[in-house]
């Protein structure tokens, strides 16, 4: 054990020294810490909520907190069942696993390391402390309780994931059973909320009663941890202690079953550790693109029809992307993200419609389409990062092929430019039919959505062109966001001014059109301005 303690001590010391040697990083951390302290002081020194002061309904916090914990649990457990889970790094595998140290001690080290990592991760949730306190009228110790609760939830769920992987790995029947239990868990959650929602007359009030239902707190782990946190917030110490004890018991049970069951867990975590390392490397080298193009993240592809069959010169990139897209989805541009986008928007329209109706109002279809446009555009930001354009930048061929950099830039970005056009056309047609909305409004939503797809790529191209790949990814991301704002702003400002001035005399579509046209002009301008980007940026995949 002394060897592990030595390693941990040295690791901590070297990390601190490395930080001192990189003042920019140190300043950033100090700045974040100062912000955090300021945020906490802001909450701690705020006057106690006065009687009669109005705050947002605390039941929203109940629902949101439970939802976040549930999301993490679902993601971690499903991931563990499908791909495995690990607390270790490749250095641990290569140096510790082959050493004569006891596997149990190594496991304890892994658990401790993971606990530290989880704490560090949720530490930044404290930034939301001030916002939570001001919105819901809670005090800083309540915020702290919620943060500690999420840390505990993450840790215990990771323990459970490790145990599940250990027990189910190599047994398809067990994996199916475990997945079945998880889906059942979700079904129970949905069932409890839906029943309360229906029973309460499908109103907003009923929905809030549903998501904050005490019945949800009976559900293991996520429910228990939520109950403990809100027990503290409500001053119900008995409830808090009961649920803390249950959670602790579950955690201890996981560890005991894991350690007693199969000590030889090395094989179980090896593959996942290798995969995790590859993913870490991808993020380190490729930044955001690495995050969405992680090795092993893609589903298994089937080879049926082969060959590019078209393309000559720079447009070979486009036809290659089409070939790859065909392999990922038979309908080429229409894939799971299209379905997801439609499902989310339909769900949102249905849900908001019901809530408004129950409250005696009717939401205008135009307003619903506007919400759908804004939300879809937000989602598109993330989907775009997984596009063929981002993947192309990670391979050397885009830089090596003897064609003009402008032609390569256009053809390599073409499928990523076209995807929002196809997705948008389907999405807004479906939404228009479902909401029985004005087709012109739907067309406007489609145009805004499609033009934003172009702006997102243009912003990325501009950031790459201005800084180049060798720069810090955080800096590129910051500049990317800044460029996006600068690119969108003029069009948005003009449209807003027009809307304010002429909404009574001209149709909205004409007034919002300048934003669409501006998006397209600005994107085209960026592409032209950055036409030599591929000659000026650096390919760093292997550095």
């Amino acid at each position: 054990m002394s060897a592990i303690l030595y390693m941990v001590r040295k690791d901590c010391k070297n990390r601190i020294l490395a930080l001192l040697r990189h003042p920019a990083k140190l300043i950033m951390y100090l700045f974040l810490a100062a912000l955090l302290v300021f945020s906490l002081l802001n909450v701690a020194l705020a006057p106690m909520p006065e009687l009669g002061e109005t705050f947002a309904d605390i039941r929203i916090l109940h629902g949101a907190y439970f939802g976040i914990l549930l999301f993490f649990m679902g993601m971690l457990v499903l991931n563990a069942l499908q791909k495995g889970t690990t607390f270790f790094g490749m250095a641990d595998v290569n140096l510790l696993f082959v050493s004569p140290l006891s596997p149990r001690k190594i496991l304890a080290y892994g658990l401790a390391k993971q606990m530290g990592r989880t704490l560090l991760m949720v530490f930044f949730f404290l930034f939301y402390g001030a916002m939570l306190a001001q919105t819901f009228g809670i005090v800083w110790t309540d915020t702290l309780a919620l943060v500690i609760g999420s840390a505990v939830a993450l840790f215990v769920v990771q323990l459970l994931s490790l145990l599940l992987y250990n027990v189910t790995n190599g047994y398809p029947g067990r994996i199916r059973t475990a997945k079945g239990i998880l889906y059942l868990y979700f079904a129970v959650v949905v069932g409890i909320i839906a029943l309360e929602f229906m029973a309460g007359g499908s109103t907003m009030e009923a929905l809030l009663a549903g998501v904050s239902s005490p019945k949800l707190e009976y559900l293991p782990l996520v429910g228990w941890i939520k109950a403990a946190c809100f027990g503290y917030i409500d001053g119900d110490m008995g409830k808090m202690l009961l649920y803390i004890a249950l959670t602790l018991l579950a955690a201890v049970l996981c560890i005991v079953v894991f350690v007693r069951g199969k000590v030889d867990y090395y094989e179980d975590v090896l593959q996942t550790t290798e995969q995790t390392q590859a993913q870490k490397d991808a993020i380190k080298k490729q930044g955001n693109a690495g995050m969405v193009n992680m090795p092993g993240k893609n589903k298994k592809l089937k080879v049926t029809v082969t060959g590019l069959n078209r393309g000559w010169g720079a447009n070979a990139f486009f036809y290659r992307h089409l070939c790859e897209a065909r392999r990922r989805s038979k309908l080429v541009f229409v894939d799971s993200t299209t379905a997801l986008m439609i499902a989310i928007n339909l769900g949102m329209a249905f849900f908001l419609g019901r809530v408004w109706e129950a409250d005696g109002e009717k939401m205008a279809s135009g307003m619903m389409l506007l919400i759908a446009t804004l939300f879809s555009t937000y989602l598109l930001f993330f989907f775009n990062m997984a596009g063929a354009w981002s993947r192309e930048l990670l391979k050397p061929y885009l830089y090596l092929v003897p064609e003009s950099p402008f032609a390569k830039l256009i053809w390599a970005a073409m499928t990523t430019l076209l995807k929002p056009v196809v997705d948008g056309a389907i999405l807004f047609t479906v939404m228009c039919v479902y909401l029985k909305a004005n087709p012109w409004t739907a067309l406007l939503g489609f145009l805004l959505y499609a033009s934003m797809g172009a702006v997102y790529i243009a912003g990325d191209v501009l950031a790459e062109r201005v800084i180049g790949k060798s720069a810090n990814r955080g800096l590129i991301m910051m500049l990317y966001m800044l460029f996006l704002i600068l690119l969108i702003l003029p069009g948005v400002v003009v449209s807003i001014v027009l809307l304010v001035l002429f909404l009574d005399v001209a149709p909205a579509i004409l007034l919002v059109l300048p934003a669409v046209v501006w998006n397209l002009i600005a994107s085209a301008g960026v592409f032209y301005f950055c036409r030599n980007m591929l000659d000026n940026s650096e390919f760093i995949n292997e550095l």
């Binding site: 893609n298 070979a316 292997e542």
Partner: protein, 238 residues
């Protein structure tokens, strides 16, 4: 031919390449030798146009980032980087189409057979081992029949047959007049086919020897290498 004049590359505070000067003539195999971190890979990436640099690099008489230069050279990276959703044969088809190589099929068949990939043509990039990916990478670089070829640690990860075949291919390319630059830190692996050795140390070229010079003087390349890399002798001994 490949001509490198005053090539420098600086990462933040680190000088990876410091005023490199060398040429590789048609029909010549030059090896970039040096310990880990000497700047060999950086130099090759600069020549391939993947990194920004200071200085002048001419390939077949054209600046290295021009279309004309790119049409002339082939590059085999140290870490192969294939498209996950493309089959082995589609990689070659893509290269043929992107490089506008007419009647590429026969050449592709020949390369695939020599690299023992002919029975794996329908395998996806994501399904290949690192060694196999390296073989596909080699086929892609050789398909357009480059006049200048750059290889970064090309033998790492290859099986004995592929090593033998690649060495044979390099000799054939040399006989056809191709200028070849191979970066390696393993002297033994390139011992039988080099014509010019460029020994790098701390980002600089510390010594240049042709095989003829070594044979005439009786100097030992390995000893020279160690005297530079371990004896602190660098620069000024060209």
């Amino acid at each position: 031919m490949l001509q490198v004049t005053d090539l420098s590359k600086v990462y933040h505070n680190l000088v990876a390449n410091d005023h490199l000067n060398f040429t590789v003539e048609p029909g010549e195999i030059a090896i970039l030798l040096g310990p880990n971190g000497a700047g060999k890979s950086t130099a090759i990436k600069c020549i391939a146009g993947l990194l920004r640099f200071q200085g002048n690099i001419q390939i077949c008489g054209h600046p290295n980032k021009t279309k004309e230069a790119k049409r002339c050279f082939g590059y085999i990276p140290e870490m192969p980087s294939l498209y996950e959703a493309l089959t082995v044969r589609e990689h070659l088809e893509f290269i043929a189409r992107a490089y506008k190589v007419e009647n590429w099929e026969k050449r592709a068949d020949e390369l695939l057979v020599r690299m023992e990939l002919d029975d794996k043509q329908k395998k996806l990039g994501s399904e290949l081992s690192k060694g196999m990916q390296q073989k596909v990478s080699i086929c892609c670089a050789l398909l357009p029949r480059p006049k200048v070829l750059m290889l970064d640690e090309p033998l790492v990860g290859l099986d004995p047959h592929a090593i033998k075949e690649l060495k044979q291919m390099l000799l054939e390319l040399r006989d056809e007049g191709c200028a070849i630059l191979v970066s390696t830190h393993m002297l033994d692996s390139v011992d039988e086919f080099w014509d010019k050795a460029l020994i790098m140390m701390k980002g600089r070229i510390a010594a240049v020897r042709t095989r003829r010079e070594i044979e005439a003087s009786g100097e030992d390349l390995e000893q020279l290498f160690f005297s530079i890399t371990e004896g602190g002798r660098d620069g000024g001994t060209l």
